[in-house]
Symmetry: D2
Subunit: 342 residues, 4 copies
């Protein structure tokens, strides 16, 4: 008997990527997909690449054991709450249960959280940090795409107390990160051949990064400057993270640094410490996170570069990894594919 | 016991795509990969996206049950001949056994064929045409990327004798079709944002297209003008095929045409007759061939559009499909993935 | 005293390209730009690349000697009619005065033409065909982007009566051709890495191509199949045109063909007959049309390939060329730039 | 009488961009172009987009008043030295005269400088820093592409002593910055859809950035971490520069910061302080440098973003700007074009 799963709001890129990946999952059957803008259509009408998936988009979710919510923030919480009460397990792709402090929601997301009592229970779904909690969770808050890359890059040195709080995360994201909703910024002729920074007044993923860096190292008060950039490619996030090593730490230089990272992520099914600076294309379609830790010996600054596919490890793939952990499936089930290249 | 397979010349894009796809194949183990320019290296050093495939590139092929040759033409025949004699089954990605007439090789490929006696036996590996012969073959000549798309688009109307011999195939290919060997044409800054026609004096895939169209319809003497174009994307071939319907044929118009195509490809695991003009991106990473048959009622001309991923259905995926048929595996084994989108 | 010119609807890509090019025109001053969606804004707010052009977008056109209308069809005719009466010269980028037969408008553009009496007077603004008429015109209908490339490619052989009426025009256009209005088709993540055919039931530029081919050769009844394709680049149209040479014509082959083209376009300021198949990128930002005439000696078919920048020779540049002719400026004034490459 | 200029090594992208831009320069005639790999060819054979420039590539430079050297480093110095002695003015695009300390050449460029006595005389060709010296120079060392963007972004706050020495420059460059020489990194199928960091052990442009930051503020000892990235576009560099404001400085926040930048660059013909985060595409083909200064009020860090076209303000355009200053031409002569967009 396969696990029955559903996707709420399959019509965006996170939703469609979930459907794509779940199709190949050996323990799971995708039985229900919803999407308000496309009720009554076949999934393949909305996404012709899924011509082989025979599913209709409905208004109401069918009976499932687990649901992925790919709704926008605020709407996601509203749709999830009754499901939780019915005993359906939930992986929420939205931000609605990522932040532990309910006060952050009005500040960053412009709404008052409808169920602050659930925030302590919701588990931040970064398996490399919270695997055992995820296994026991009924509600997993899937991390944002930028935080996934940044946190995996920074965790080893922050947890070990090797760096000063001044941290810079300079991220470059493919355009699919902006979703399927139309905008001039993501209009082809405007986005192609264009590189730009955005959200310089503060991106919503910042509080998530800060919260989880603090959680790694009690007493650490990170001062994170996070600047996302849009680059002309559909997929991929490369994050270049900068921090100054504390005096006397990492005295043996890059070799010590690399050993720390290899030890920290030993046995992790999807994190790889690489020998050469990685390219985002090395992760296309896969759940891998590639990390290249380096040390600028001239200035004592650490430069940690990470790459993910924003729609996989940064969204749908990580959600499936979380589901696998919640249901004791092999953690790589449905996620074993080699990246598409070139 | 899994089938042991090898790849000769894994260092090009067809070779690496084979390795990528075979990794997920349930009945097969990739045990040996060769590549002269990279002997002694790990596969992942040459192709970092295959970080999870632990294989060394060797000079000599190990013992295998089937080998894929991704060598360039001429060199491929040379390396294949002794293997055939040893009883190893071969799928040849090169052109060396595609043409039945040995005289064509000096004309199109600048070499005298070293084993013309094998040409009659070699099976042209387009499963939709030659499935049963492939099943019994020891040597399969995997079709070229352009012929795959063009032949699948044209077969139904040619076989049924519905069109005149004047046929135009206008194909648009992604740049990976030109391989991994460096050239100014495929230098990023030159190829990006650029569209161009090439090989206007005759492309090597032309005799292959003509040969197989003739084979479909004895007595038919197609006059094919084939013009390939380079478009700025890594993968994908879209072929727009033009032919004039014979008077009195297809009197019921496009509905009759579409029915013909649906019947012709009924049950085919990878060919889909689509309702809307398809985009190459709907096939990325998959073995699908999407066909959109249409009729220009103003001029009586048929316009048949087909899409494939040139590295999958146009090369590595089709090679695996052939292997599946040769070894009675499920034909879709290892090839069930949904295309990567967006 | 510079000529005062205005642009109606500067907020699309044809409009903005006009503003960009006119800025460098020595005889002209751009004094008025309108655009309903952006009234009150500075031009540089809508198009930041024009930071150095100090103009406000207004609702009403100021007093000018010549106006370019970049309005959508139907709306353009409405706004142009009163201007014509006021004695303002007009170059209309829309299709509203391109077709000589008013009956075509309901068929192809879904509206009844509001001023059919002006159609005979309006001059089709392809200078290579109608230079002297343009010089005397008060209303020039600037050709469509596809017709410009296709007509320049086909004119010499059609005019000389060298080909049969069966003609295929397979065009590949960059995405800017679809304009600045948002759509899923032109959403970055959908359009990048994608190639597709569209408008297979008949594109609006078809009647324009047919009309002008007929005009070149009285009695010639061309049966044109025109299939436009979208390719992933911002700019550029490459058209591959196929026609069969009449028996006994072009007996000396490609040399004769090339001579015909060179003679036909001798002295033309923007048409170049090239020795190698051209790429669209060789025309970026310029008013050039590159033509490569070739002959498939195996089948007797002509393959004529042309390249233009759809926003320049296919729209704004050609409009300026027309203005130059109308006002006896040097025809290349404001259009002498070398294409941007790479 | 126009100034006669030549280009040494016209066959790379800096050289071809010089030829493109000089073609439109009203005071200058390009009379001689050299390029070892293409001696005897027409310029338009090597670069088909320059079909309208009638020049032959020669081995030896003809008689000119000023020469641009686009030779690689080391070779450039060798070819320049005799020219200087002959009284030809030189703008050197290579790095050979940028660094004041001859000891840096073996370290960063692997050669012993052949004419260290000329280093004090050579003027670093950043007009915004050294306009009057350039006016009097016979040898101008044209800045590197990365330093141009980084230095213009950082100069105001460094010169005014507002920031601490810890500076991070995270730059994203289009692929043309890697030149026209073939490599796997710049092979289309590898570079498209790929984002990566490189030169993490130290890029050659670092000493240039450090030297000029020091020159801006005597006693300032900047600790610069510079990480270049490759992004999939032909042109453009976006640099995100991070530095911490000194306590008590910039107390009025971003308004004060923006005023500082506007004042600093007042009257500069090519630097623009923009109101919104800029995109590289806003500079395509132009000599503009767009700067967006911002302040992360949460952490007190400055984030200064700059954009240039690496081949124009980052190479050929700046070289022409330098020539204009050297010969008292209007500084914008030949450089007034509006960027190409979209």
């Amino acid at each position: 008997m396969k696990l029955k799963v559903g996707i709420i709001n399959v019509t965006g890129y996170a939703g469609s990527e979930l459907a794509r990946l779940l199709y190949s999952h050996p323990q799971v059957e995708l039985t229900s997909v919803t999407g308000r803008s496309a009720v009554g259509k076949k999934l393949a009408e909305v996404f012709p690449h899924m011509i082989d998936i025979k599913l209709n988009i409905t208004e109401e979710l069918g009976k499932v054991d687990l649901v992925f919510s790919a709704m926008p923030h605020k709407a996601s919480a509203e749709v999830i709450l009754p499901l939780i009460k019915q005993g359906v397990k939930v992986v929420d792709i939205s931000a609605d249960f990522r932040l532990k402090d309910a006060q952050e929601y009005p500040v960053w997301y412009d709404f008052v959280h409808p169920a602050p009592e659930l925030l302590p229970e919701a588990v931040y779904g970064l398996p490399e940090f919270y695997r055992s909690k995820i296994a026991a969770a009924r509600l997993v808050a899937n991390p944002g795409c930028y935080p996934t890359g940044a946190l995996l890059a920074l965790a080893p040195v922050v947890k070990e107390g090797l760096v000063y709080p001044d941290i810079i995360v300079d991220s470059k994201s493919g355009v699919s990160g902006a979703g399927r909703t139309l905008s001039l910024t993501t209009h082809y002729s405007e986005a192609t051949d264009n590189v730009s920074a955005y959200a310089l007044k503060g991106h919503r993923h910042l509080p998530e990064i800060v919260q989880e860096l603090k959680a790694l190292s009690p007493g650490f008060a990170p001062a994170v400057t996070f600047v996302p950039h849009l680059v002309p490619t559909a997929r991929g996030i490369l994050s270049s993270c900068y921090a100054r090593a504390k005096e006397g730490k990492l005295a043996k230089g890059e070799a010590e640094l690399r050993k720390l990272y290899k030890d920290f992520y030993k046995g992790e099914p999807f994190v790889r410490i690489v020998d050469q600076p990685p390219g985002t294309k090395q992760t296309w379609g896969s759940n891998l996170c590639l990390i290249y830790p380096s040390l600028d010996s001239r200035t004592g600054k650490l430069v940690i570069v990470s790459c993910i596919d924003n729609l996989v490890k940064g969204a749908a793939g990580q959600a499936i990894q979380n589901m696998n952990i919640m249901f004791s499936f092999p953690e790589k089930a449905g996620l074993e594919v080699i990246p598409l290249y070139p």
